[in-house]
């Protein structure tokens, strides 16, 4: 019986959401209780369910809509602990909003997946999904079956993807051809708080990626780029360090602040007598034995320092701590040391300096040491704010971006922006095809779909047109956020595109006098754009396919 109970309980934990037709009575007037606690569940069905779901999705899309584009606005978000985030990044906004509604959560996940996969375009994808759903609502009202709407969307999406591939340009990408990458990074950063130092930030991002890129495999391991935030200073002080920056200091204040041509011992063992893992106790029953033990302990310390010294190391990086005695000994022996360095950083240091991580002192040898040009402890600002900078490493495979800025919020936002830019640069290395931004790609796709839609003989035709209309939401939002008249800007760009058959015409958000995005240098990666279209379509499809929502009703 206990077993059954516990089983019932676990099942209930998995899915207590269920509701039922209010209460069913049989012919004899007795109510059925079919589903557990059915009176406490709510259930929405049919057209009402679609409408409720679509409205929820639209509400989410509306929230982020204003942060789209170069003139998009930021949001301020305060979490329950009172911590404040200021951001323009769609994924971050949605993540911090802590939405309750299940359908809205799908959109949050949508922007997150765009973030995971591409890194940028997180706002655009949500706006597009919201717009698709609004269009779908109109079709549902006209009595078109939701599945047909989805199928039409799917068809249209494929047309759009084909069109994008057709209008995409291939740019040259390589460590000597950075211009295209910088332009792309600038487009990504354009809408962010860092836009004042656009060029500088873009270069930092591209340099960082180029330093660690694997050109043969066309891949970039992003974890080799370390971001270090330091509030204070100006944003333009943000710099790329060819090497590693760790937020630590030398263990003894009197140790030299700079070590040139450092030979680094990278240790994962603490500077203290080794401890067996097995439970142990030492029984001391005489004074001699006690003395012997004290002596032995002291010997451990001096042996360790000697072992390190003997290998020729001039710097010790240690994963663990060491007590004052060891610290003093190291200082006395002219061995600068850094303690409590995290595992990930240890690894990066090992990779960059070409050293090996050594688990105990007896295994130290000269060939396991890493080398670096300089290791420096630098102080920033007026506070006692120090960092260890390791430069001149033989392997330039690990770099650090030090992000500076006026306050913590700005620095955090700048880091997010840089992360986006780095991701986009990586995407460009993977696939060097670009499309042009400013809504031009969406307009081109929309025109292509409209053309194709007329060839479709079934109801899907309407859904395809609706998809084309939904794509227009992006340039419209761009224009609106830039203070332009949305409809006239869109109409202008659209008519010029079809008249001049130039797919690079978009909305001139930055008022540069030309609507040609190729001239403006607004680059977006093709992969990112396709991904946006596909993800938005798929999530719209998922939401449209739900005709029944069963959930525990609110108690309030």
């Amino acid at each position: 019986d206990a077993f059954r109970r516990s089983r019932a309980r676990t099942r209930n934990m998995q899915a207590p959401g269920q509701g039922q037709v209010p209460v069913v009575y049989d012919e004899y007037g007795r109510p059925f209780i079919i589903v557990r606690e059915q009176d406490r569940k709510t259930r929405v069905k049919g057209l009402d369910a679609y409408k409720a779901n679509i409205l929820a999705a639209q509400a989410v899309a509306r929230t982020v809509r204003t942060s789209l584009g170069p003139r998009g606005m930021d949001k301020i978000l305060q979490n329950p602990d009172g911590e404040v985030t200021v951001t323009n990044d769609g994924a971050t906004i949605l993540d911090q909003m802590e939405v309750e509604n299940e359908i809205a959560k799908l959109l949050v996940q949508l922007s997150k997946s765009q973030d995971d996969e591409i890194g940028d375009g997180t706002t655009g994808v949500v706006v597009l999904a919201g717009s698709l759903l609004s269009q779908a609502l109109g079709l549902l009202d006209r009595g078109i079956h939701p599945v047909r709407v989805m199928e039409g969307f799917e068809l249209a999406c494929e047309v759009a993807v084909k069109r994008l591939e057709a209008i995409a340009d291939t740019v040259e990408v390589g460590s000597d051809h950075r211009e295209a990458m910088i332009t792309t990074a600038m487009t990504t950063l354009g809408s962010k708080v860092v836009s004042k130092h656009l060029r500088h930030m873009a270069e930092v991002a591209v340099d960082a990626v180029c330093s660690v890129a694997d050109w043969e495999r066309k891949d970039v391991r992003l974890d080799l780029i370390k971001m270090e935030q330091k509030p204070g200073g100006k944003m333009e002080d943000t710099a790329l360090v060819q090497g590693i920056v760790i937020d630590k200091d030398f263990s003894h204040p009197q140790m030299p602040k700079v070590v040139n041509n450092a030979k680094i011992a990278i240790l994962t063992c603490p500077f203290e007598p080794p401890k067996p893992k097995t439970k142990h106790s030492i029984q001391i029953d005489s004074v001699e034995k006690y003395d012997q033990m004290v002596e032995q302990e002291r010997k451990y310390f001096s042996d360790m320092v000697k072992q390190v010294k003997d290998t020729g190391a001039t710097l010790v990086i240690c994963q663990w701590g060491f007590d004052d005695e060891a610290n003093h000994l190291l200082y006395a022996n002219d061995l600068p040391a850094v303690r409590w360095v995290g595992g990930v950083e240890m690894e990066l240091i090992a990779i960059a300096t070409g050293g090996r991580i050594v688990p105990r002192f007896s295994e130290l040898s000269a060939d396991k040491l890493g080398t670096a040009g300089t290791v420096e402890e630098i102080t920033m600002g007026t506070q006692k704010d120090t960092m260890i900078v390791i430069r001149g490493c033989p392997e330039k495979k690990a770099v650090t971006v030090v992000v500076r800025g006026g306050n913590k919020m700005v620095v955090e936002e700048a880091e997010r922006s840089l992360h986006d830019a780095i991701c986009m640069t990586r995407n460009l290395i993977r696939d060097n095809r670009i499309v042009y931004g400013g809504g031009s790609a969406e307009i081109a796709a929309s025109l292509a779909i409209l053309e194709e839609a007329d060839k479709v003989g079934t109801v899907e035709q309407y859904a395809m047109r609706a998809f084309a209309d939904a794509l227009d939401a992006i340039p419209m939002a761009l224009a609106e956020n830039s203070g332009l008249h949305p409809i006239s800007s869109l109409a202008d760009a659209k008519s010029r595109q079809s008249k001049e058959s130039n797919p690079h015409l978009g909305v001139d958000c930055r008022a540069l006098g030309t609507a040609d995005m190729k001239e403006q240098g607004v680059f977006e990666t093709l992969s990112g754009k396709i991904q946006q279209f596909r993800l938005a379509t798929q999530v719209a499809r998922m939401i449209l396919k739900i005709d029944d929502v069963i959930q525990p009703s609110q108690y309030e």
Binding site: R5, A8, R9, N12, M13, Q14, A15, G17, Q18, V24, D26, F32, I33, I34, V35, R36, E102, I103, K105, Q109, L110, K112, S113, Q114, D115, D116, E117, H145, V147, E151, T268, P273, P276, K277, T278, H280, S281, I282, I284, K289, Q296, G343, E347, I351, R356, I357, P359, T458, R534, Q538, V539, R541, M542, K545, I546, D547, D548, I550, Q551, Y555
Partner: protein, 546 residues
């Protein structure tokens, strides 16, 4: 039961509900039908999904078995439906909604007879008879591949495509169907389903999903030093372990007592030598890849890194088992006596970035009897539903590999059966005629529901279907695209015959079970809220069971 001898005899505990007789039977039928109505709208290519919210997670699904399980049904008779959906799922893998809908229809057909006083046993008897006839008919009706002239692969792809028709991923069935068939083709003759791993990686479009002919698993938690290991190894020698490679105390509860401080170092050294001894043996065996189900500590990670050996600890057990099958190695629990024959190998080991995650991919395995599908998608629920759909498709393909008969879907088989049974019914004398006739009519529920869900007029379509079938076009089914009828066989809507026979069997059995129950005794406890926070305290009080 006890209405003559009044309150003095209490046979059952207070609060026990014991309803009985024909009213109870009818009540059970109604309850089942109410449940069927819940899942009905998911049937067919235009079927919709359900969103079911739990305490923390939400599930969006089209899969009958999944929905039934999540509905958490407590009505004792209606629970039968959950069980048959489950059994269809484990037996065939697809057609779980069909089986529930069919049961509902059979019960509905039986209801008027029961109301009119026909004994339930008679209804059951003829239902069974009808079932036997149906199964015989399907055998003659089904088409074996040989007859189609198509090569097996195309048929399998079609079958997989039909299984995916009603699912979220139906638009990508052209993409997934070959993938599913490839995956199943990778397996050995027993087609063990657990040898197809499905990994979910959030992010990316569905089209970015990929099939790895071999084993792939996500990078496990790694310690410092891992990045210094090689990330691409050609023809690696793989050792699979089920042991920890960490510096640790060998016995949990052992304690060492030392009286001589000079001995201290020896203990430390002894522990180190134990682990180094293990590591040394592994490296000496010639292994270049070490996988363990248990942790591989930082010390071992660095040791391997120094010797250009790749390692991964805490590999999920199922992956390790699949690894063993694919590379031909055996999972070892000790490193003593490690020889070449215990080591596995494969063509290439490579660490690949898939979306935001890193995967260890082992391909070109010599004994590759396993495959991995990496699913991508925009939202967790999306991938979860794709996973379920692919699972169904895989099950179908597996079944089809073994049983080479297919039937056209889209309600065609049900219509043909219905016609056959009706014709037969006319030759029977007595009640059987009526009952079998109703059974035949109940079968039409499948095409009717498909049509309804597609937003078409069921009466209209059904009449056309009946007419076509009467004219001898026995493959005619519902055409949801054009809104009429079409030859389902030519439209390539194919299903393994097994789905249908099993669904019919299960549904008839379930209906028979419900029909044979005439009394329900429900213990008062079974309806109580298991959660402590009960908003109905008066109901929760009796019998402090905690």
């Amino acid at each position: 039961m006890s209405n003559l001898v009044q309150p003095s005899i209490i046979l059952l505990k207070e609060g026990t509900d014991d309803s009985q007789g024909i009213p109870q039977l009818l009540s059970n039928i109604s309850a089942c039908i109410a449940v069927v109505d819940c899942v009905k709208s998911t049937l067919g290519p235009r079927g919709m999904d359900k969103l079911i919210q739990g305490d923390r997670d939400i599930t969006i699904s089209n899969d009958g078995a999944t929905i039934m399980a999540l509905l958490d049904i407590v009505h004792p008779a209606a629970k039968t439906l959950v069980d048959i959906a489950k059994s269809q799922d484990s037996e065939v893998g697809d057609g779980t909604t069909s089986v529930v809908v069919l049961t509902g229809a059979f019960l509905n057909a039986a209801k008027p007879f029961i109301e009119d006083g026909v004994h339930p046993q008679i209804v059951r008897k003829f239902f069974r008879q009808a079932l036997d006839m149906s199964i015989q008919f399907i055998e003659s009706y089904a088409i074996t591949y040989g007859a189609t002239g198509d090569d097996k692969r195309t048929v399998l792809e079609k079958l997989a495509g039909t299984a995916m028709n009603s699912k979220l991923i139906s638009a990508y069935k052209a993409f997934f169907a070959p993938m599913v068939v490839d995956a199943v083709m990778c397996l050995d003759e027993h087609l063990p389903i657990e040898m197809i791993g499905i990994k979910e990686v959030k992010g990316g479009a569905v089209q970015d999903s990929l099939l790895v002919k071999g084993v792939a698993f996500e990078k496990t938690f790694s310690y410092a030093g891992f990045e210094q290991q090689p990330k691409k190894i050609m023809n690696p020698k793989i050792v699979l372990l089920n042991m920890e490679l960490e510096l640790k105390s060998e016995k949990e509860n052992a304690e060492v007592r030392i009286s001589d401080p000079a001995e201290y170092q020896k203990i430390v050294d002894a522990e180190w030598s134990i682990i180094y001894d293990k590591l040394d043996k592994i490296v000496k065996s010639g292994a270049t890849v070490v996988l363990s189900r248990l942790a591989i500590g930082d010390l071992a990670t660095q040791y391997f890194a120094d010797r250009d050996v790749f390692c991964a600890g805490r590999v999920p057990e199922e992956d390790l088992v699949r690894m063993a099958k694919a590379c031909g190695g055996q999972v070892q629990t000790t490193v003593n006596d490690l020889h070449d024959e215990h080591l596995g190998t494969c063509g290439v080991l490579e660490e690949k970035q898939i979306g935001g995650k890193r995967f260890n991919v082992f391909t070109e395995c010599p004994k590759s009897k396993t495959a991995t599908i990496v699913l991508r998608g925009g939202a967790e629920q999306f991938i979860a539903e794709s996973h379920r759909s692919l699972h169904d498709a895989i099950m179908i393909v597996r079944r089809a590999m073994k049983h080479d008969t297919i039937v056209p879907g889209g309600g065609a088989i049900e219509m043909a059966l219905s016609k056959h049974l009706r014709e037969h019914a006319r030759t029977i004398r007595g009640k059987g005629q009526l009952i079998i006739n109703e059974y035949a009519k109940a079968l039409e529920v499948i095409p009717r529901t498909i049509t309804e869900n597609a937003g078409l007029d069921p009466t209209d379509v059904l009449n056309k279907l009946r007419q076509k079938h009467h004219a001898g076009e026995k493959y005619t089914g519902v055409d949801v695209n054009a809104g009429g009828v079409c030859n389902a066989y030519e439209a390539l809507v194919w299903e393994p015959a097994l789905i249908r026979t099993n669904a019919l069997k299960a549904a008839t059995e379930a209906a028979a079970v419900v029909l044979s129950v005439d009394e329900t005794i429900r213990h008062p406890k079974s309806e109580r809220d298991p959660e402590p926070s009960n908003p109905y305290p008066q109901r929760a009080r009796p019998g402090g069971r905690r």
